[in-house]
Each structure stands twice: as structure tokens, then as C-alpha cells.
Symmetry: C2
Subunit: 238 residues, 2 copies
């Protein structure tokens, strides 16, 4: 089966967590909006059918149309072997992914604390305040949580969040670290010293042959100032 | 099996979506933090074990400890008959719940756009800006989405989001309407005129005997200004 991923063509955004899962699994997929005429198809299909999505990404898998990033990963985790097969393991991996999703919202809101529909330039003072709080309190809290999870997961030997094998939660944590490095290079360099296991998971994922090939390919869209992780130097720590 | 729900004792918050599901199912459960010594137990268990939670709510179900509201509902939906049994139906219900979760974040951030750790009083101008955008753009978009979903769901006859029967997503949508009425009474009165099916689902849920009994009981914590839905008149529309 060839999966069809529907997500914006010019950003990593929330679609990237799905792209990383499809790439790590070696799955056959098409990134629809990046094909000719694909953006129109994305907009047309989003609100249609019996399971319309509120927003991209959504995934067509045979007859299923699945929306919400974490929901897509729940599905792919089972079908593509990117999560444990036990009920407890599936729920735990999903719980971690939902916590990553919460983290992603807070990262996005560092540059858009007032309204996602306004430009960054229209909310710069608010963004500065929110970013300071984010870097001082929220980012350390989230990263510290994942560090503790990795530490407690003995089978992972500090290189996986869940069990001994790679899961989609590890792929998503990789993306978080990459994104934070891009958006807040100074603050992230300091934060990383406190979370060696999180960095080790990032390194393990980056070294996976399929992921390495993906990152070097044109399929990986570079970070930019339209996505979730944006580099505005004035929001970084000094 | 007696479930143990762990959530803050003085607010509805995110725990309320779980409470509503447990109540609608007639499940045997204890709201741990509301028992004597329960808050200490909540804090102690949260970070312990092999599946620690980043934040409440979390649910103890036999040997499982499940965190993240939508994840708990995914589990209860299956065990307590609050979601379809098919794969497609389960994923769709979960997708709706995750969209409700996104909505909840945006509702919370109307009064806390800068930092969840600061008081509302420390971010009032920002809260005013964010609330205006929320009431003008975001709330209509979310409610309109759920209205369209209810409309497209023919088996639900305008009284259910998924299929012909009640699901946990309907319970959560009930809570959203109740909360918006409390937080933004003027704006919500106007918004409701555009989403009759959403209001009908709210009414259907409110009329369920178990839910009605719950709402009249002391188990239902009243809305207040510590929770997600807060009534600050200055944030409502005129």
C-alpha cells in the first residue's frame, strides 16, 4: 500500500513527525502537496469525506483518512512496527507523543502568543515575554521529563524512550531537539548539558541509515521562518 | 475493577473529560485527590513507576497507569463502550478528541497567553488581545468544524459526532459548550446560533440520566477562576 501524506509543501511543521515515521519505516508514500497540483488537492480533500480534518497533516491509508499528528503516528506505530505491540506499550508510547504534541504547541506559541493568524511582527513584545518564560521554565521542564523517562527505561540503555527498540516517540524527540537547536541555538546549547540521554536519542535517530538518507535528500524541507521552529535571534537567550 | 483517577481536586480542568466518561459509563472509580490525603498521593505517584506523567490527569486501571487526557479516553472508549469498535471508528473518534484538546489549549491561553506560571493579572493586556482573536476567529472555526462533522454524520441525526451512539467525543463537546457559556457568556450566546447541532449534542449529553445525576452531585466541581474556563468579564465580547 502506498500512503498519501497531506501536509503543507513548504514547511516541516507537524507533518514532519509523520514524514520521519514513514521514512524510518521505509514505507512507500507520496508527499502529496509537494507534487504538481498537490496543494489544491490538499485543500480539497481536507474537509471532504466522512472524516474531515480540522487542519493538516492527514494521511490516506487505503480506505482510511486519518487526521491529527499523534493519531496518525498511533496508526503507523502499529502498522509499521514503530511502537510496542502490547496494549501497555502502545498507550505509553502514545502518551509520550501527546506530551511532545503539547511541547510543540508551546514552542509554536513562543513566536505567536497572541494569534496564529497574525504576523510575528504584530506580536513581538508578547513573543519576547513568552519566549523568556518558555526557555526558563517550560523547555527545561519538558526536556527534563523526557530525560527522566529515558533514564527510567532500562531496556533502552539511554537511547530509547520506550523499551529496547526505536519508536515513533524517539523520532519525534529527535525533531524537537533539531528544531530547538535551530530556533534557540544559544539557549539549547545550555539546556542540552542537562539532558544527555535526550541528546543521545537524537544522535541515535540521526545515525539510522534511512533517516540519514532522508535528511540528506531534498525530501527534507529545511527549517524556515514559516514553520513551528523559527529562528528569531531576539527570542533566544543571550 | 475500580479505576483510580488522579487529578487536581479543586478544578474541572482536563480531568473533567475523564470524569464525564467514567460517569457516563457508570464505571466504578475513585477521584483520588478529592479523598483525604489524596493530593499528596497524586503528586507522589505522578512521577513514579515506569510510565510517569508530565501532568495530571492520569488513570490507574488495574496494572496500567495511563496519562494524557485523550489517551485515557482512547482506553476508556474501548473498555467502556464509549467509542465504535472498528479501527476506523476508533481512530476517527480519537481524531475528534485530539482536535478538542487543541481547542482546550487555545481556550486556556485566552487568559494565559504569556505564561501558565504567571497570574492572569500579570498578562491582562495580552489576554485581551488573545481573547479577541479567539472569539473572532478561533472559536467560530472550531465550533463550525464540529457542526460540519455533526451534519455529515447522518446516523447521528444531528445528536452525535460519531455514528448513531454516544461517544466520549460528544461528552467532551458538551464540556466545551458548558465551559464557553461560563467563560464567555455573551460571545457564546451569539456563537451558538450558528451551530445548532453542537448545541443539540450538548443537550443530549445533559439529558443522559447518569450525566444529569452527576451534574447535580457534589462530584461535579463548579467552574471557577482556577480552571481552564474562567469568567473574566473584560475578556468576553460586548
Amino acid at each position: 500500500m502506498r500512503y498519501e501524506l497531506y501536509y503543507w509543501s513548504e514547511i516541516q511543521g507537524r507533518g514532519e513527525y509523520v514524514r520521519l515515521a514513514l521514512e524510518a519505516a521505509g514505507a512507500d508514500y507520496v508527499d502529496v502537496a509537494r507534487e504538481k497540483g498537490g496543494e489544491a488537492k490538499l485543500m480539497k480533500l481536507m474537509g471532504s469525506g466522512t472524516t474531515p480534518s480540522f487542519a493538516p497533516p492527514y494521511l490516506k491509508a487505503g480506505k482510511l483518512m486519518i487526521g491529527q499528528t499523534a493519531n496518525i503516528l498511533l496508526y503507523l506505530g502499529e502498522k509499521e512496527g514503530l511502537a510496542p505491540k502490547t496494549e501497555a506499550g502502545r498507550l505509553w508510547t502514545h502518551q509520550l507523543q501527546l506530551t511532545i504534541a503539547d511541547f510543540v504547541v508551546e514552542i509554536h506559541d513562543t513566536h505567536h502568543p497572541v494569534a496564529s493568524g497574525l504576523y510575528y511582527e504584530d506580536q513581538k513584545p508578547e513573543a519576547k515575554r513568552r519566549s523568556e518564560d518558555f526557555l526558563e521554565h517550560r523547555a527545561p521542564k519538558y526536556l527534563g521529563y523526557f530525560e527522566a523517562v529515558a533514564k527510567a527505561n532500562k531496556p533502552g540503555k539511554g537511547k530509547a524512550l520506550v523499551g529496547a527498540r526505536l519508536s515513533y516517540a524517539d523520532l519525534s524527540l529527535f525533531q524537537i531537539v533539531e528544531g530547538l537547536r535551530y530556533a534557540f541555538p544559544k539557549a539549547t546549547a545550555k539546556l542540552e548539558k542537562r539532558v544527555p540521554r535526550v541528546v543521545a536519542i537524537r544522535d541515535s535517530v540521526a545515525a539510522l541509515p534511512r533517516i540519514r538518507a532522508y535528511l540528506e535528500s531534498p525530501r527534507r524541507i529545511p527549517f524556515n521562518e514559516m514553520g513551528i521552529f523559527r529562528h528569531y535571534p531576539e527570542l533566544d537567550s543571550k
